[in-house]
């Protein structure tokens, strides 16, 4: 009898284990209820396709967190950009602001009030409705203040500014000249923002914020643990807790290995037949150590979509037929490479000047910077180092930003004779083909750059040789990226540096941190209290105007002048801008690559026959 009982128990246990085993299978555990198709669903105008495909791609570098308030890396924001969505987005063809979660909006006469009408019937991936409360919640997290427990008074920091409870990048980027915009819900589907002053990029910057789910993060916000929410542990243990409004939800995450996304069953876009998108069932993102190995994986036909480095295009193209993929030239990219001289006249705490005074004197003379600029063989770099897959960069704005690109700025074609003439004009002399300054000191400086970027190392050696032709001795210093950042942003003990900038928001005002003299990224002399030079003061004024005006033509005029000043003064000596190349496997349908949106801007409409 006892024996029999034990047997039954054993059997039941086995069954339970089996069930538990099934439950552990990815996907089976999800209890997402599928909400009805939203009233205001966006109908995407692409031919109807088949459901069930799978995208495989690679990502260089792992994620550090999935908390949108903490994400600083490209990898992290790419991943969250798949899950979270925003009120507005950009047209991949024209670059104009187009509806996202907001189906329409109005801007008041005085350009201060922005009223967004949210799409009705949209649901979060877990089935909860999306309302104006979520938008309010999102903005509340940016600007919530630390309050004294007893008195309820806002705690201030050392400089008298209020202390934020959850200081994030958004907290600071959304402040408009130090003041907060006001947010209110007019009804469940209408939100109004009021900016403290006219602020042209608000529609894009404010409307582009990714909306957070109040029903998931609300309790963490109340009990002060918001910054610990949605960490890597969440992604590993409970990926279903990370809910969103975009086309994918996280299904599983293995650190250093891969991320698997499943389609969001409640996505708000439908195909012309009224079926809910996206077509693909899963998106698998493999984590690889660097861009080169990512390119190798694509060239072996292992991934579906890929951005290809300019120096890798030649060999990736060779596999086009064998592995049935296509490599596309997407034209100039947003990335820029440049050299700058340290113009910081300050001293460290031991009273030692950051830059030796006589060198600072050279660097501060704009003719010196212009002469260096004339002496760089940019065409040679494009031809030799990039195999012709880059273009000469004359100014701050990459030609990719057609609308904001000023072609009439002063340019510096390769002309060593002109450089020499400028040096002589400054009172410099040549002794045995070596350049000496007016006091007879030989001219030379140290250029630092990061060693991890092969193309940049090559550019640096070309730069050194170009300078040697002008009689200037350049000492190259290859450091790791973090050391460089420490030097350029806090210890300031360097003479010249070569780095690159990539990406960036489409509104020119996004560059204020670099261009304005008080900016954190105003590399050549950051965080100035008062602009050190007249031209920097002029740029500051122009940038403020750029933010305050909404008239596009006026803004363009301001920005064009900024570019002209930068070109004349050469605080940043621009070198080249690599071209963008992308590759895709030919099995994908509905692909419509655009220069701005790239390859996968319409990922919800991409489809392929499911693999057997």
């Amino acid at each position: 009898m006892i024996d029999f009982k034990a047997k039954v128990c054993g059997l039941m246990l086995a069954v339970l284990l089996l069930v538990a085993g099934c439950g552990k299978r990815p996907g089976a555990e999800r209890s997402f209820q599928e909400a009805p198709i939203p009233v205001d669903a966006e109908v995407v105008d692409f031919p109807q396709g088949n459901f069930g495909g799978r995208i495989v791609e690679t990502m260089a570098g792992d994620i550090a967190t999935l908390n949108p308030l903490l994400i600083e890396s490209v990898a992290g924001s790419t991943v969250m950009g798949r899950i979270l969505d925003s009120l507005v987005t950009l047209d991949p063809e024209t670059g104009e602001v187009i509806p996202g979660l907001a189906k329409s909006w109005e801007i008041s006469e005085d350009n201060l009030e922005y009223t967004f009408h949210l799409r009705r019937g949209v649901h979060w991936s877990d089935g909860e409705p999306f309302t104006a409360a979520d938008v309010l919640f999102t903005w509340k997290t940016f600007f919530a203040k630390e309050r004294d427990g007893a008195t309820g008074v806002v705690v201030a920091d050392a400089e008298g500014r209020p202390k934020y409870r959850y200081p994030s990048r958004s907290t600071f980027t959304q402040l408009i000249n130090g003041k907060e915009p006001r947010v209110e819900a007019l009804d469940a589907h209408t939100v109004r923002f009021t900016t403290p002053e006219v602020y042209a990029p608000f529609l894009l910057f404010g409307g582009g914020e990714e909306i957070l789910p109040e029903h998931i993060l609300g309790s963490a916000f109340e009990n002060g643990t918001l910054l610990e929410a949605w960490n890597l542990e969440t992604a590993i243990q409970r990926p279903e807790a990370i809910v969103g409004l975009n086309m994918f939800v996280l299904e599983s995450y293995r650190p250093g290995e891969r991320l698997v996304f499943a389609r969001n069953p409640n996505y708000w876009k439908v195909n012309p037949a009224g079926e809910r998108l996206p077509y693909v069932e899963r998106l698998i993102t493999k984590i690889v150590p660097d861009a080169n190995s990512s390119n190798v994986a694509f060239a072996q036909g292992k991934t579906d979509f890929e951005g290809i480095g300019p120096d890798n295009v030649a060999w990736v193209k060779r596999g086009e037929e064998r592995h049935d993929y296509t490599v596309l030239d997407m034209g100039p990219s947003n990335t820029t490479n440049f050299v700058w001289f340290n113009l910081n006249p300050g001293k460290d705490e031991n009273g030692k000047a950051y830059v030796a005074p006589h060198k600072l004197e050279w660097f501060q003379d704009k003719r010196f910077r212009q002469a260096v600029s004339y002496g760089i063989n940019r065409e040679g770099i494009v031809r030799g180092v990039f195999f012709g897959r880059a273009q000469v960069l004359h100014g701050y704005v990459s030609p990719k930003r057609k609308f904001w690109y000023n072609d009439a700025i002063r340019k510096y074609p390769y002309d060593p004779e002109r450089s020499k003439a400028l040096f002589l004009e400054m009172g410099f002399r040549y002794v045995n083909e070596r350049l000496h300054d007016a006091e007879g000191r030989p001219v030379g400086f140290t250029l630092m750059t990061n060693s991890s970027n092969g193309l940049r190392v090559e550019m640096a050696t070309v730069f050194k040789e170009n300078m040697a032709d002008l009689g200037i001795e350049v000492e190259l210093q290859f450091l790791d990226f973090n050391t460089i950042i420490t030097k350029t942003s806090s210890s300031f003990d360097y003479e010249a540096c070569m780095l690159g900038l990539g990406g960036g928001a489409p509104d020119p005002y996004a560059g204020k941190d670099i261009l304005m003299s008080g900016g954190r990224l105003h590399q050549w002399h950051p965080q100035q209290v008062e602009p050190a030079t007249e031209w920097e003061a002029r740029i500051d004024a122009l940038m403020l105007e750029l933010g305050r005006h909404t008239d596009v033509e006026k803004r363009k005029a301001f920005y064009f002048e900024v570019q002209e000043i930068l070109a004349e003064q050469q605080p940043m000596i621009f070198l080249v801008s690599a071209k963008d190349y992308v590759g895709h496997r030919n099995r994908w349908q509905n692909l419509q690559p655009t220069l701005l949106g790239g390859l996968t801007w319409n990922m919800e409409s991409l489809w392929t026959e499911p693999e057997p």
């Binding site: 060999w315 063989n377 030799g384 195999f387 040789e465 040697a468």
Partner: protein, 351 residues
Amino acid sequence: MTGLGDIFKASFRRPLGALSGGLLLALYMIAIFADLIAPAATNEQDLDRTYHPPTKIIWGEGGLRVQAYDLTDPSTAGYEAVPGKSYALKVLGRGFEYRLLGIFKTNRHLLVCDDPEGAFYLLGSDSTGRDVFSRLVFGSRVSLFIGLLGITITMVLGFLVGGLSGYFGGRTDFVAMRIVEFMMAVPGLYLLLALRAALAPHFASDQMFFVIVIILAFIGWAGTARILRGMALSIRQQAFVMAAESMGQGPLTILRKHVLPNLLSYLLVAATLSIPGYVLGEAALSFLGLGIQEPSASWGLMLSEAQNVKVFYLNFWWLLTPGLAIFLTVIAYNVFGDVLRDVVDPRSQKR
């Protein structure tokens, strides 16, 4: 006891010894006369001819000529030979100016193409159009002399510490051997990486050469010291040392006159066999981006450039020649070291 000259003579009399010794001699001659042998300066770039394949050398019009090439596909660095077009090569022609052996100012080079149109790349060109052969020749200075310099420091330190502690014994010996154990316990690679990172901002890339040698040598002496101490201990018991002591000679004199000659053959073999370690160490560090840096040339650094995927996919095989150079040097040293050991130790020869 045979003298140094006899040892070398005996080594060169053996076929393997002559081969490896001759190769080493040739390599060092190349390093010393690098300026004369290299057709181009280390940093002479040509951005119109990056990743140029090795140029063919042909005989015609009464002299050596170099085949002309055209860049047919700039996007993949595709070059094609132009039929019937070539440039004259001059023996002892004019090139960049330098001082031969640091004394005689001249601009003559062993083999150059002084036609302004022509390009002479014996082993192709690299990512900025620099001549790989010239860089290989100049790089040999770093890669070959790093071993000699390092081994000198190691052997001198090893002999002093090992010899003295073996000779004196007792407390000196105890302290010295504990220091040696401490040095041996330091994980070399990590110390190197850490020191390299810490020192990087203070040294220019060519000074880094010396810094690396010194770091490598200061870690490496402990093992030698330990062995020499054992040998000194046994020599100390010999009658001739006792005799010298009783005649009132000082310890340093005894070390120099009586102990050192007895250790010489061991030192020679040990040095020869551990030089490859330095050559490889330099290569490894430069390969990791921690050794010699651009634009200076060293074999390790050149090899690290060849690590790029495009080198393999586009078949820029000539960028791998520094690997061959390292291989030859290391093999030559090892073989020569073996021959030396056989010569100085007749017992192992009979085995």
